[in-house]
């Protein structure tokens, strides 16, 4: 208890932002409770109504309650971006550690592939991949993952290289520790803090990229409640029904801000040297 209080005192920012992030996650989890309507219930005759007591954010062109859809959109966006960050973090770190520890051909192959991805504007390939594989949210996540894992691989590799030649690793090797043990016991913990910080700061960016693909029509498909898609649907009604554009946009913005702040403060906690 004492420790927790000290931690809070030392890292007030982190605590506040964690709470905010938890609140966003709570909105996603408890969307069914919080929502005033079924997000997919369409009353065609009630299309494009302005915000009112009945529909707090108004209704969309299919007569669905926008407030409820924005809440449910948190589920879609968070699930997609968290799983995306999870995938690239795990895959990237694994490949990076393997490349760094074993070196040789394995290293060369992994790093050349990573060069290929990095020497290339990610969004281009992501659009191409998502478009070619067919437009849906899962493919959009895969597409972005394909072009984004390299950052983690490079990071993990450089961290591994830094300590590979240290004495205690050599000692572990001499005493006959299994390779998997060394990787798990020494390499991973060493790389983890940096990787976690990068991952946390990446959540916001990834959310924007997923929303961007959905906006272009290469991500989530109707009738999914997804913010990027909702913005695209609302775009045609910009002059007559600006609320269709304002609320989903605000939702993305707020969520991204919260996760960006969280990422930044996590860096301060784990790596105080960095300003």
């Amino acid at each position: 208890m004492e420790k927790i209080r000290a931690f809070i005192k030392k890292n007030p920012g982190f605590c506040v932002f964690s709470l905010l992030a938890l609140a966003v996650i709570a909105v996603a989890v408890f969307a069914p409770v919080l929502a005033t309507h079924d997000p997919n219930e369409a009353v065609l005759a009630n299309a494009v109504q302005p915000p009112s007591a009945e529909h707090w954010f108004g209704t969309d062109r299919m007569g669905r309650d926008l407030f409820s859809r924005v809440l449910y959109g948190a589920r879609t966006s968070l699930t997609a971006s968290l799983s995306l960050v999870g995938i690239i973090m795990v895959a990237g770190t694994f490949l990076g550690i393997v490349a760094g520890y074993f070196g040789g051909v394995l290293d060369a192959v992994i790093m050349r592939i990573s060069d290929m991805m990095i020497s290339f504007p990610g969004m281009v390939l992501a659009i191409a991949v998502a478009g070619i594989m067919g437009a849906n949210l899962a493919n959009a996540v895969i597409a972005i993952a394909i072009v984004s894992w390299t950052k983690y691989a490079r990071l993990a590799r450089s961290l591994v290289l830094k300590i590979r030649s240290r004495d205690y690793i050599a000692a572990a090797r001499v005493t006959g520790s299994k390779t998997s043990h060394i990787l798990w016991q020494y390499m991973l913990p060493n790389a983890l803090p940096t990787i976690l910080i990068t991952g946390a700061t990446d959540i916001g960016t990834m959310m924007l990229e997923i929303a961007g693909l959905s906006f272009l029509g290469f991500g989530a498909q109707s009738p999914t409640a997804e913010w990027g898609l909702m913005l695209n649907e609302g775009r045609a009604y910009m002059t007559a029904a600006p609320w269709l554009m304002v609320f989903p946009g605000l939702a993305i913005f707020i969520t991204v801000v919260v996760f960006n702040l969280l990422g930044g403060s996590l860096r301060d906690v784990l790596d105080p040297r960095n300003e």
Partner: protein
């Protein structure tokens, strides 16, 4: 020392970046002088915004390019349709035929192309031959033989006549020749530019951006009101509406966003011309899939609230109806009865009665033990995707699974021809040549392979009689019967009839009325407001 050097270098680079950027903007700046509003103090100018259907205006390229040829007021056909979709003379001013196979068309005297070349019988012959040659050797994608094929085309420049010998009896040849494919081009210069006889000609073209037109000084049919016209090719409907409101353009075609259209209609500063169009918006059922089940199709027709979808979902862009032929045309719409008009309870009853129920409690009904999940393909043109989504949402609400995939037109058409769909949206002109026979053929079992495999022997027999009929009353009677069969069979999901619109700034433009058959946009009737 070092820092100074670096500073210079850095400054130089920054300066370079800015200069290049500013130069870049500068070079573009010149083009924009005519950007918005009615420019050019001297002379009359019109700014028109429309969707870009094709970057080509050559009738042989494809359907859309031929339409652009006519729509931009650049080209004309031998015949044209008036506002009642009746054929009238255009470049041809008289014809004779005895047996509806050999036609002698007289070419209007004194007509010139916009480059001053005379429109002679032999040029007309060359233009038509070029069209068929392009189809034969695949240099073009237009398929004129779809409507008529000729065993010979002869020109007599002395008499000013072209003699067309059709391969079969073709009663409606003038209507067919009014279709944009058969637009007449100056074949002597076609390798370098597309020249027609329309009131305007192209002076400059920037792909996907703008087309500049100028008055055709040689125009044959009355005065041409504008010195110059600039066409802004605009992808989405909202942008068109905004451009009209901001004054960037004076006239726009087909605003398909309901909210924008309502706003414009409510404002006296704008003149909105709407016409009950000749286009049918519908979704074809695939009879080779689960939708071969009669009860399921009937339930779908019961479940769909066409009136609300037409009035609210697409904001009045369509007029609701039950038949494949628009109610505005004189094909006996009043005599038809619709047994499946909107009734959600009946839809559920029908499904339950047919044993299409949810047995495993997942909220989705099953047919023959398989959960129903309809593959609904839509494309974004003319609100079709909105219909599809509204339909899907409605069907989901009564336990019929339905997934909408929005594709571009070409991909959707490819899927349609491959038969890989359960439902697919469509928006087509029902009387492309002034006659619905061709369109009704979509449901003839000999042709219906690409429209969902509908088949009904009685329909086929009546349709064959229609093809042979020459008497107008008999034709009408058959057409009415055919329509009723389609309704009774729940052959297709009719959404409604597309209303074409023109919206213009009332203070600047007059006479901007849209023609029911949408081959014509820019005409000499559109003129500066007095």
């Amino acid at each position: 020392m070092r820092t100074k050097w670096i500073k210079k270098a850095a400054a130089a680079v920054l300066a370079a970046v800015m200069t290049v950027s500013l130069a870049a903007c500068g070079s573009g700046n010149g083009n924009t002088s005519q950007g918005g509003g009615t420019s050019a103090a001297d002379g009359t100018h019109l700014n028109f915004s429309c969707y870009n259907y094709s970057n080509s205006m050559d009738p042989i390229t494809n359907v859309n390019s031929s339409w652009c040829f006519l729509r931009y007021g650049v080209g004309e056909c031998l015949f044209r349709f008036d506002e009642n979709v009746e054929v009238e003379y255009a470049l041809c001013d008289a014809y004779e035929t005895e047996d509806y196979t050999t036609w002698v068309l007289h070419i209007r005297d004194g007509v010139q192309f916009s480059n001053g070349n005379a429109v002679t019988a032999s040029v007309v012959k060359a233009s038509l031959e070029r069209l068929y040659d392009a189809e034969a050797n695949k240099t073009g994608n237009s398929t004129p033989s779809q409507y008529v094929t000729f065993s010979s085309i002869e020109a007599d420049d002395e008499a000013g006549t072209v003699t067309l010998v059709c391969d079969s009896r073709t009663v409606n040849l003038p209507g067919i020749l009014a279709y944009p494919w058969y637009g007449i081009v100056d074949t002597s210069v076609i390798d370098t530019e597309v020249i027609g006889t329309g009131p305007y000609y192209v002076t400059a073209l920037e792909e996907n951006s703008t087309i500049d037109l100028a008055r055709n000084e040689y125009y044959w049919d009355g005065e041409v009101p504008y010195d110059t016209i600039r066409i802004f090719l605009t992808e989405d409907s909202s942008t068109k509406a905004m451009a009209l409101k901001s004054g960037d353009v004076d006239l726009v075609e087909n605003i398909t966003t309901a909210s924008d259209l309502m706003e414009l209609e409510a404002d006296d500063a704008y003149y909105v011309s709407t016409t009950a169009g000749v286009r049918l918006g519908n979704s074809y059922f695939n009879f080779n899939g689960v939708l071969g089940n009669d009860a399921l199709r009937q339930a779908i027709l019961y479940a769909i609230d066409d009136a609300t979808m037409c009035d609210i979902t697409v904001g009045g862009m369509y007029t609701a109806g039950c038949s494949v032929l628009p109610s505005s045309l004189s094909y006996g719409y009043d005599q038809l009865t619709d047994p499946f008009s909107y009734d959600l309870d009946k839809a559920v009853e029908t499904l339950d009665a047919a044993g299409i129920v949810d047995t495993d409690g997942d909220g989705c009904r099953e047919l023959d033990g398989q959960p129903i999940n309809l593959n609904y393909i839509a494309y974004t043109s003319r609100n079709l995707d909105e219909f599809a989504q509204a339909v899907a949402i409605t069907l989901e609400s009564i336990g019929i699974g339905c997934t909408v995939t929005v594709q571009d037109y070409d991909t959707a058409l490819a899927n349609q021809s491959a038969g890989s769909f359960d439902l697919i949206t469509s928006n087509a002109t029902t009387v492309p040549t002034g006659d619905p026979t061709g369109f009704l053929g979509n449901f003839y079992s000999g042709n219906s392979g690409t429209y969902g495999y509908y088949a009904n022997d009685q329909y086929d027999a009546l349709y064959e009689r229609l093809l042979a009929a020459t008497d107008a009353d008999e034709q009408l009677e058959l057409i009415i019967q055919l329509q009723q069969i389609l309704i009774d069979d729940a052959a297709t999901l009719v959404h409604g009839y597309y209303n074409s619109t023109f919206a213009s700034r009332a203070s600047v433009v007059s006479g901007a009325d849209i023609a029911p058959i949408d081959y014509y946009w820019i005409t000499t009737k559109i003129r500066p407001a007095a």
